[in-house]
């Protein structure tokens, strides 16, 4: 490790990093404090960053007016069901992908990359036309279908990376001891895969929780709207004047994602995803 020296260069580095941090973190701080300000304080001619009085009126009003509970319920159902299906389906596939060196691997990797390039508009129009006759057009079920196929490629990619990091020798050792294959998988592979499964399901969950475009196209019924959809509507309606409520609603909706990132940030900075990008 090099010794920390103090020089003009170092000083400039500190200045630069502080500026970056302000740029990246200040908007969230501003959202946070705005959410706790009363309407009167927001409109005061001499604005302060911190609210004079921390009040929760905006939160209760936003939950009420934007009907956030209902929208959060819809988002929760869609995200949970999507996550369950994605994990159930991608677990065996990821195992097969990681353990086989066949064409399958190339095909899957090819699709994962290709699916990134194509604009959503090319997929959403035919999907929209397909889901209508199935009765899934304007339903949470249809949204789950779309989210499952939308998150599968990345989940598969992530999970197969975790499988690949488990040495095949361990499985062979288990097999040598005469355990049937399913036992090897359940008692050796699965426990080692647990952190990977948690990470993958969190990614699938957050991806669905945050998604906006597909929900906007598919869901027309107000009672079925997801949280991002409801918030986007709130921006154009009451959010124009009720800035405090808009901030409060946004803050509440961002909590799951913020918590999730707080949980996994260590893994992220230690390069969890760099493998995925380089892969």
């Amino acid at each position: 490790m090099r010794r920390r020296r103090f020089s003009i260069g170092r000083m400039l580095q500190y200045v630069a990093i502080v500026l970056f941090m302000i740029f990246l973190a200040f908007p969230l701080l501003f959202l946070f404090t705005t959410a706790f300000k009363s309407q009167r304080e927001l409109q005061s001619p001499d604005p302060q960053l911190l609210p004079a009085q921390w009040n929760l009126d905006n939160f209760t009003a936003a939950i009420d007016r934007a009907n956030l509970i209902q929208a959060a319920g819809n988002s929760l159902i869609v995200a949970l069901v999507t996550t369950l299906i994605v994990v159930a389906v991608s677990l065996p596939a990821a195992y097969a992908l990681a353990r086989s060196r066949t064409r399958l691997r190339k095909l899957a990797t090819g699709w994962i990359l290709l699916s990134q390039v194509f604009p959503f508009i090319l997929i959403i129009v035919p999907l929209y036309l397909m889901l209508q006759p199935l009765g899934l057009g304007n339903s949470l079920g249809g949204l789950v279908v779309v989210y499952v196929v939308w998150s599968l490629p990345f989940a598969l990619w992530m999970l197969q990376g975790y499988v690949a990091s488990i040495p095949v020798d361990l499985e062979e050792a288990g097999a040598m001891d005469g355990a049937p294959k399913w036992r090897v998988l359940v008692s050796i592979v699965l426990p080692l895969l647990a952190p990977g499964l948690v990470a993958t399901s969190l990614f699938a969950f957050i991806g669905s929780w945050n998604e906006f475009f597909f929900a906007l196209v598919l869901i027309k019924d107000e009672a079925l709207q997801t949280l991002p959809q409801r918030l986007a509507l709130f921006v154009g309606a009451e959010g124009q004047v009720q800035l405090g409520q808009l901030a409060a609603a946004s803050l509440l909706a961002a909590i799951p994602s913020l918590l999730f990132f707080a949980l996994i940030q260590r893994r992220l900075t230690s390069g969890l995803l760099s493998g995925a990008v380089k892969g």
Partner: protein, 305 residues
């Protein structure tokens, strides 16, 4: 070799083949492949095909194959090309600014400074937020009367009533800043991971040979980082060109921010021109592919030289 040894060796061989590449792999793969084929690959093929038809949202209308008619129409569709140009300005600006900002930040985070842990965590904040909420947050920040940006400008005596998202001269630049903000964490973390993979010995050797900081950066760090740089800028460019939610909530495409995806969305779901919207999708794919082809080829050539 005793008979027992042979049996054991034989068993090991058969066991090994059970865990190696096998036909059963397809069976395990099927539950994942089926939904992808039915709800992703098939619609995509249909979407490409729709771009050559006159499909509309109207019920019971017959869909006819119209060949290149859509593309002839698009060629003279000035609004679409305007939007396309805006998309290119947006995607290039966001990707390039994001890259330089993220590279600087990654270098700083890798420079053994105090408070690095906190800085790394803070740098992830934008990543943790859904695009719709990022857009709402920045609408508050950029609000002409109550926003923090104008507030900050006013505090230092600069003009403080700029309607950032409400006029043609500032809406796109403001949206670009928001785009850079939203995408910085991924780019920074990826570059940081790349930096940490740069061979430290090579660095020390260069230092012993008397290479200065900049010289080491350009002759050791940058070449080692190049594959990561190419990968992340390519991904960023594609993502930015296909971006939707952020600008939809920021400006809804007003004041010269009508990105191609917003335009195509309106064409399909506001005006019901499914065929034409799909044709736009096809044009966008081809243009992205052309840009990527030249970018990746020039980079590959640079590597050979």
């Amino acid at each position: 070799m005793s008979a027992v040894d042979v049996v054991v060796a034989e068993r090991r061989l058969t066991r090994r083949s059970r865990f190696g590449p096998e036909r059963g792999a397809w069976l395990l793969f099927l539950p994942a492949m089926l939904p992808i084929l039915v709800f992703s690959v098939w619609p995509l093929l249909q979407g490409i095909a729709l771009g050559f038809t006159n499909a509309t949202a109207a019920r019971n209308a017959t869909v006819e194959f119209t060949g290149v008619e859509n593309y002839v129409e698009l060629a003279g569709y000035e609004l679409f090309w305007n939007s396309f140009g805006i998309g290119l300005i947006w995607a290039f600006s966001v990707t390039i600014i994001q890259f330089f900002a993220s590279l600087s930040l990654a270098l700083l985070l890798n420079a053994n400074l105090w408070g690095q842990g906190i800085a790394r965590t803070l740098a992830l904040i934008p990543w943790a937020m859904p695009p719709v909420i990022i857009a709402i947050m920045w609408r508050l920040m950029l609000h002409p009367t109550y926003g923090a940006v104008n507030g900050g400008l006013g505090a230092v005596g600069l003009p403080d009533s700029i309607n950032w998202l409400g006029q043609a001269s500032t809406a796109l630049p403001a949206a670009i800043v928001v785009g850079v903000w939203a995408g910085m964490p991924q780019t920074t973390i990826t570059l940081l991971a790349g930096l940490q993979g740069v061979n430290a010995e090579l660095h020390e050797a260069a230092q012993i040979d008397g290479a200065g900081t900049w010289q080491r950066f350009f002759s050791v760090t940058l070449p080692a980082l190049k594959p990561v740089i190419i990968a992340i800028t390519t991904l960023d460019f594609i993502n930015n060109f296909n971006s939707f939610a952020l600008v939809y909530v920021l400006t809804a495409g007003a004041w010269g921010t009508m990105l191609p995806m917003l335009f195509a969305y309106n064409e399909a779901f506001r005006y019901g021109n499914f065929g034409l919207a799909s044709a736009m999708g096809n044009v966008i794919v081809i243009v992205i592919a052309i840009f990527l082809f030249f970018y990746l080829r020039s980079q590959a050539r640079g590597r050979e030289a």
